[in-house]
């Protein structure tokens, strides 16, 4: 009886020492996984995930505070990529955070705009040009379509316009055939 207790004690001490030593030796700082997650997120900075931007959301995912299905602009593909990176099961987009829709770009109706600069302050990527009491315009190339400029506008002069398909951005479509060859796999 006594020997067994002694042996267990002995083991506990040895193991404790080894682990204690290695925990000092292999101390980890920083978390490169955040960068990886951030690179998957679409960087719209829209805040639909309930975090103030993509980076904060990435941090929250890495910490385990947020789920992977809270990013509507990333859509199903984004969730899949996150699921793969994190090694968890795919789950459908959480609709309480919004639904995925095709990318759109904000347009300012320049006749209505009163130049209040509220939208400029709201834009997360500084894609709106203009100064006080002057008409504002959107730098199309830089607009992420986050819609954050819509609510602050006092005169509702901003509209979201989906990007039109033209000969330049046109994509070949998924071949459609009547049977299983081309049936896309939905699960896992």
């Amino acid at each position: 009886m006594l020997t067994s207790i002694l042996i267990i004690l002995f083991l506990a001490v040895i193991i404790g020492l080894v682990l204690g030593f290695s925990s000092v030796q292999f101390k980890v700082e920083g978390d490169p996984i955040i960068e990886k997650i951030d690179s998957i997120l679409p960087q719209t900075q829209c805040g639909q995930c309930s975090y103030p931007g993509c980076k904060p959301y990435a941090t929250a995912i890495a910490k385990g505070d947020a789920d992977i299905n809270q990013c509507p602009p990333g859509g199903e593909k984004g969730v899949r990529a996150l699921a793969e990176l994190m090694g968890v099961e795919y789950k459908p987009l959480n609709e309480s955070h919004g639904i995925s829709k095709p990318k759109a770009i904000a347009f300012i109706d320049e006749d209505t705009c009163i130049g209040c600069t509220l939208c400029i302050q709201a834009c997360p990527v500084d894609a709106i040009l203009g100064a006080a009491k002057q008409m504002h315009t959107i730098i199309e190339k830089e607009c992420t379509g986050c819609e954050l400029c819509l609510p602050p506008c006092p005169v509702d002069c901003i509209t979201m316009e989906p990007i039109e398909e033209n000969a330049e951005n046109w994509k070949w479509k998924y071949p459609v055939y009547s049977i299983a060859v081309s049936e896309k796999k939905v699960n896992n």
Partner: protein, 508 residues
């Protein structure tokens, strides 16, 4: 003249029925000026040409309508004299079937030339010649539509040793290069000599498939006395006319996807492009027309010399119309071409061939089955890819893996689909996957920009906040400072007073 014997062989390829004799029975015919000309502003690889005319302008034949926008772009000229009717989005010959900007010109039927400026290339520098070529509007007429001035450009690292003339014309049905060689061999040879000396190349090799006997005879007799021009007959195996495949057949050099042939001292031109360059330099005529094969399900198949912008409808009408009406036309060959969105599109610089679709071409008789991994496609792939794996990944959206299997090395030649026992439209899957990957990478780039800008904004807001805080603090500090000084001074005054008192007391 020398005949080169050693032929290298790439993996696979296919031997399809060439069907070329359909359209070689008659000579090249010039199509009369149509009643309306619609010129798309994007007929080449690169940026859309920059418009130089406005609605209502009167233009002469050969006058600049749109100029090259930057270096990777090509100019567009009026194919005949007339009046600009409109500038609007119209259907263009593009697989998307989407409209794009076009200039509509109403010909006045005078066909009056603008003043031509032949180039005295022997007495001016290469750089100047090249600058002039920028607005020749000449692009690769084999179908790739790569602006030719870039290929003749001077800013390259390695000198060009070999000029290869692509006369393989490997796709079935197409005969425009064949007919050009038969009828305009002299222009071609003069053009070759010109381009060879422009490039400073030591030799020229003409690569021709062994099914064009007549053209071969004519060309060989023309180059009999030319010491630096060789002709090399390659076997009729599609896709021997693909640039990198042809270079390999001729020189045994395998040029990877991401490299240009010029890095290996080789430059390649299509026969029609050579003639266009020759005409521009010799006579000052910009690129205004091309030879188009019209064949297939048509009453009078033959080759036409057609002005750019001519509606396909007038071409079809002149060729007697379709034998079996189905209103479907393919642009390019049957292996790599695409169905035209409408008969109302116009002839462009890339339109080497129009095939009036045979019913069996557009009607799939057998249903596709799943891939049975028979690897017939891998045996046929001229790039030595694994089409069955690419298909497997493309159909299930596993793009990363598809890229690991070198999806982007695929030249979409269609050999895999041609031999597939399961009837799978393999090339369609690759195009889909490529499109998706490209759009994803564009999205990723945009995301990077957005991230940077967002980071910058956060930084800026932080800095502003800090600055504000600092200012406040400073202001506060300033306030407190004066108070303190006052205090100290008061204290000092008190001390001094006390000292004085003590002194006084001592003195007393």
């Amino acid at each position: 003249m020398k005949l080169l014997d050693k032929i290298f062989k790439f993996n696979g390829g296919i031997q399809a029925e060439t069907k070329k004799d359909i359209s070689t029975k008659k000579t090249i015919k010039s199509l009369p000026i149509p009643s309306e000309i619609r010129l798309p502003l994007r007929q080449h690889i690169g940026k859309m040409a920059k418009l130089r005319v406005k609605v209502g302008d009167q233009v002469l034949k050969g006058e600049l309508i749109a100029e090259a926008d930057g270096n990777i772009s090509a100019a567009i000229h009026a194919p005949t004299s007339g009046k600009i009717k409109s500038i609007e989005k119209l259907l263009i010959p593009h697989p998307s079937g989407l409209p794009d900007f076009c200039v509509t010109l109403i010909p006045d039927n005078n066909d009056k030339w603008v003043k031509k400026f032949p180039i005295d290339w022997k007495n001016i520098s290469l750089k100047e010649t090249n600058k002039l070529l920028l607005n020749s509007g000449i692009v690769g007429l084999g179908g790739a539509a790569f602006p030719s001035h870039l290929k003749l450009g001077t800013n390259r690292n390695s000198p060009i040793k070999t000029l290869i003339i692509n006369a393989a014309e490997c796709e079935p049905y197409i005969t425009c290069d064949d007919m050009l060689m038969r009828e305009r061999g002299k222009d071609l040879i003069e053009g070759i000599e010109l381009v060879q000396s422009l490039l400073g190349a030591e030799e020229t090799i003409i690569g021709i498939e062994d099914n064009k006997l007549e053209a071969f005879k004519i060309i060989s007799s023309l180059i009999e006395k030319k010491p630096n021009i060789y002709i090399k007959v390659v076997p009729t195996i599609y896709p021997s006319g693909d640039a990198k495949r042809l270079i390999f057949l001729i020189n045994g050099i395998k040029i990877p996807k991401e490299k240009r042939s010029s890095e290996y001292g080789i430059q390649m031109f299509n026969v029609a492009t050579i003639v266009a360059i020759f005409r521009f330099i010799q006579y000052g005529e910009p690129s205004l027309s091309r030879i188009v094969t019209i064949t297939g399900n048509i009453k009078e198949p033959r080759n036409y010399e057609v002005l750019f912008g001519t509606p396909l409808r007038s071409l079809v009408k002149d060729a007697g119309g379709q034998k079996i009406k189905n209103n479907t036309f393919l642009m390019g060959g049957p292996m790599m071409g695409f169905t035209l969105p409408s008969i109302d599109v116009s002839v462009t610089k890339t339109m080497n061939c129009v095939i009036s679709a045979e019913p069996e071409m557009i009607q799939v008789t057998e249903e596709p089955l799943p891939c049975i991994r028979c690897s017939k496609c891998a045996e046929a792939c001229p790039v030595s890819l694994q089409p069955q794996e690419l298909f497997w990944f493309s159909k299930s959206d596993q793009f990363e893996k598809a890229q690991n299997y070198n999806l982007f090395d695929c030249i979409e030649c269609g050999c895999c689909s041609y031999v597939c026992p399961s009837n799978i439209p393999l090339v369609q899957f690759y195009r889909y996957a490529k499109s998706e990957i490209i759009s994803q990478s564009i999205a990723a780039e945009e995301a990077d920009i957005a991230r940077e800008r967002n980071d910058f904004r956060i930084l800026r807001l932080d800095r502003e906040k800090k600055e504000r805080a600092e200012r406040n603090a400073q202001r506060k500090a300033e306030n407190t400072n004066t108070d303190k000084l006052k205090l100290i001074e008061e204290k000092r005054a008190e001390i001094a007073a006390a000292m004085d008192r003590i002194k006084n007391e001592k003195n007393i």
